[in-house]
C-alpha cells in the first residue's frame, strides 16, 4: 500500500473515530431525553446482575460486535440512566456474546471432519475462557465488588491522564458535543421536539455501528501486512506472552476482536496453528477489544462511563491472570473446547444446540424470568 493511500485511510479512520465519539454522545443525549419512568422500565430488569449478563450476551449476538455493544453500554452509563454496577455484568455478557461470530465462522469448515473439529475447538476455546472468567469473576463482583473496586481505582488514574481544561471541561467532549447540539437545534427548529430522544438514540446507534465498521475496514486494509507478519511470527515462535501481546495489538489496530479471532480459526482448522498457540492470541484479543469502550468513555459526560470501560479491561486482565499463568488452569478451556469439538464432529446437531442454547435461549430465558 502506498504512503498516500495509508495516509488517506488513517485520515478516514480519524474522521470515523470522531463520528464514533459523536455517536456515543448522541446516544447518551438521546437516552437522557427519555423520562425517568421510561428509563426505569427499560433498564430496571438489568439491575439483576444475571439479567445484565444475559442482556450483554443477547445485545452483542444481535449486533455481532462487542465493540458496538460495549460502546453503547458506556454511552448509557455516561448518560446516567444505567448505573455502572449494573453495566459491569453487561460488559461481561458482551465478552461472551462476541464469540458467536467465531463459532459461526467455524461452521464453514463443516465439510471436512478433521478441519471442522480443529476450527470448532479454536472458536469454542474463546467461549469457554469467557464463560469460565464470568463464572469466577461475576460472583466475586456480586459479593465483594472486586472488578468495580479495581476499576474505580484505575479510572481515577486514567482520568488524570485525559486532556482536561480546568474551567470548560474536556476539549474532546466539547468537540463531539458540537454536532449533536446541531442536530438538536435542527430538530427544535423543525418542531420535532417530542421525537428528539428517539431520533438521537437511533442516530447514535447508527453512527457507532457504521463508524466502527468503517474503522475496522480501513485499519484492516492498513494493517494487513503487519498482521500477516505478526501471525507468521506467532507461527514461528509459538505461544507465550509475545503471542498475547500480538493479539492485543492486532485487535487494538483493527478495533475488533472478532477479526483477530476469526483469522485464527482457519489457521487452526488447516492445522498450521495449534490450539495451544492460538489461545494467548485470543486472550490478547479480549484485552485489545476493550480499547473501544475506553475510547467511547472519552465522549461520555459521567465519570462512571470511564469506570465501566476500565471494568471491561479489568475483567479481561483478571481472567487472564486467573487462567493463563497456571498450566493446569490454562488447559481447562482448551480441553473443554476439544471435547466439545470432538462431540460435535460425532453429532453435528450439537453445534446448533450449543449456539442456540448459549447465545439465544439462555439469555432470552434469563431476561424473561427477570
Amino acid at each position: 500500500m502506498s504512503w498516500a493511500e495509508t495516509a488517506a485511510r488513517l485520515g478516514l479512520t480519524l474522521f470515523f473515530l470522531y463520528l464514533f465519539l459523536a455517536g456515543v454522545k448522541a446516544l447518551e443525549t438521546g437516552i437522557s431525553s427519555f423520562g425517568s419512568d421510561a428509563v426505569d422500565q427499560i433498564f430496571g430488569s438489568v439491575a439483576n446482575p444475571i439479567a445484565g449478563l444475559a442482556a450483554g450476551i443477547l445485545a452483542t449476538v444481535l449486533v455481532q460486535s462487542s465493540s458496538v455493544s460495549t460502546a453503547t453500554i458506556v454511552g448509557l452509563v455516561g448518560s446516567g440512566v444505567l448505573p455502572f454496577e449494573s453495566a459491569i455484568p453487561m460488559v461481561m455478557g458482551a465478552n461472551i456474546g462476541t464469540t458467536v461470530t467465531n463459532t459461526l465462522a467455524s461452521l464453514g469448515h463443516v465439510r471436512q471432519s478433521a478441519y471442522f473439529e480443529r476450527a470448532l475447538a479454536a472458536a469454542t476455546m474463546h467461549d469457554y475462557f469467557n464463560l469460565l472468567s464470568v463464572a469466577v469473576l461475576l460472583p466475586l463482583e456480586i459479593a465483594f465488588g472486586l472488578v468495580s473496586r479495581i476499576a474505580i481505582a484505575l479510572a481515577g488514574i486514567f482520568d488524570g491522564l485525559l486532556p482536561q481544561v480546568d474551567a470548560g471541561g474536556s476539549p474532546i467532549k466539547d468537540a463531539v458535543a458540537a454536532p449533536v447540539s446541531l442536530v438538536q437545534d435542527a430538530l427544535t427548529s423543525l418542531g420535532w421536539l417530542g421525537a428528539e430522544g428517539a431520533i438521537l438514540l437511533a442516530l447514535g446507534f447508527v453512527l457507532i455501528f457504521l463508524s466502527l465498521w468503517m474503522i475496522t475496514r480501513n485499519m484492516r486494509a492498513v494493517m494487513s501486512g503487519r498482521i500477516e507478519n505478526a501471525i507468521n511470527g506467532i507461527l514461528g515462535r509459538g505461544a507465550g506472552i509475545g503471542a498475547l501481546i500480538a493479539g492485543v495489538l492486532m485487535t487494538v489496530a483493527v478495533q475488533s476482536s472478532s477479526i483477530t479471532t476469526s483469522i485464527l480459526v482457519p489457521l487452526v482448522a488447516a492445522g498450521v496453528l495449534t490450539l495451544r498457540n492460538a489461545f494467548p492470541v485470543t486472550l490478547g484479543a479480549n484485552v485489545g477489544t476493550t480499547v473501544t469502550a475506553l475510547l467511547a468513555s472519552v465522549a461520555a459526560e459521567s465519570p462512571d462511563a470511564l469506570i465501566v470501560a476500565v471494568a471491561h479491561l479489568t475483567f479481561n486482565i483478571l481472567g487472564i491472570l486467573i487462567f493463563y499463568p497456571w498450566p493446569q488452569l490454562r488447559r481447562i478451556p482448551l480441553q473443554l473446547a476439544s471435547w466439545t469439538a470432538a462431540a460435535a464432529v460425532r453429532r453435528k446437531s450439537l453445534v446448533a444446540a450449543y449456539v442456540i442454547g448459549l447465545f439465544i435461549i439462555f439469555p432470552l430465558a434469563v431476561l424473561l424470568i427477570a
Partner: protein, 225 residues
C-alpha cells in the same frame, strides 16, 4: 518483539523464498553431480546434500503456511491465482531437490561417471542442466516471458533427447552396473528439467494450465492482460 509488526509485502517475501529454494537446488545439483562424477566423497557430500534438502523442504512448508496466513488475513480472492501458482512452484522446486538426491543415490549403486567412454557427453549434459537451473532462476525472478518461452522449448527438446539416451542404455549390451546408473541419470535430469519447465510455465501460463505449457495459450494469456 515488535519487529513482527513491521509492514511488508508477504507475496514478495514468498517470491524471494522461492528464488532462494531454487538457488539451493543449484547447490544441491552441484553436490550431487560432483559425487556421481567422482569429484567428491559421497559420504560427506551426502550429509551436505541432506541438510540442503531438509532446508528446501522446510522452506516449502513455510511458504505454504505464509500463503495460508496471507489468504486468511487479506481475503483469498485478491491473490488466489498467485497463491495457487506459488504453491505449485514450491512443489516443483522441492521435487528438483528430490531429483538431486536421486542423482546422488546413484553413488550407492557404484556409479562413477568419471570412468567411461561417455564422460565428455555426460559432462556436457551435466553442465547444460546446471545452466538451465541458473537461467530458470533468472527468468523466474525477472519474469522475462521471451526467455521463458525459449527455455521451455529447449527443455522439451532436451527431454526427447534424454528419452533416447534412456532407451539406448536400457537396450544396450553394456554391463548393467554401467548402463543402469546412466539410464537413471538421464531419466533424473529429464525429470529435473521438466520441473524447471513447470516453474517457468508459471510466469506465462494461466493457473489452470500450469505445468501444461502450450506456447499459443501462453501468448493468448499475455495478450489478454
Amino acid at each position: 518483539m515488535f519487529s513482527i509488526f513491521r509492514d511488508s509485502d508477504q507475496l514478495e517475501n514468498v517470491e524471494q523464498q522461492l528464488a532462494g529454494m531454487l538457488a539451493q537446488c543449484q547447490d544441491a545439483y552441484r553436490i550431487a553431480t560432483a559425487a556421481v562424477f567422482g569429484e567428491s566423497d559421497p559420504t560427506s557430500s551426502g550429509d551436505e546434500l541432506l541438510d540442503l534438502d531438509r532446508e528446501i523442504n522446510r522452506t516449502e512448508r513455510a511458504i505454504r503456511r505464509e500463503l495460508l496466513v496471507h489468504g486468511t488475513v487479506r481475503g483469498a480472492e485478491l491473490d488466489l491465482g498467485l497463491m495457487l501458482t506459488y504453491m505449485s512452484v514450491a512443489k516443483d522446486i522441492e521435487r528438483i531437490g528430490d531429483k538431486c538426491k536421486d542423482i546422488w543415490e546413484l553413488t550407492g549403486m557404484g556409479a562413477n561417471f568419471s570412468v567411461g567412454d561417455d564422460l565428455e557427453e555426460l559432462t556436457e549434459h551435466r553442465a547444460h542442466v546446471a545452466q538451465l537451473i541458473t537461467w530458470t532462476l533468472d527468468a523466474f525472478t525477472t519474469e522475462d516471458a521471451e526467455k521463458v518461452h525459449e527455455l521451455i522449448s529447449t527443455i522439451r527438446d532436451d527431454a526427447a533427447h534424454y528419452d533416447t539416451h534412456v532407451l539406448h542404455f536400457v537396450q544396450s549390451e553394456m554391463p548393467s552396473r554401467h548402463a543402469a546408473p546412466r539410464a537413471l541419470f538421464y531419466r533424473y535430469i529429464k525429470r529435473l528439467s521438466l520441473h524447471l519447465s513447470n516453474i517457468l510455465s508459471s510466469v506465462v501460463m494461466p493457473v489452470d494450465r500450469l505445468d501444461f505449457y502450450r506456447r499459443e495459450k501462453a501468448i493468448d494469456a499475455e495478450a489478454d492482460q
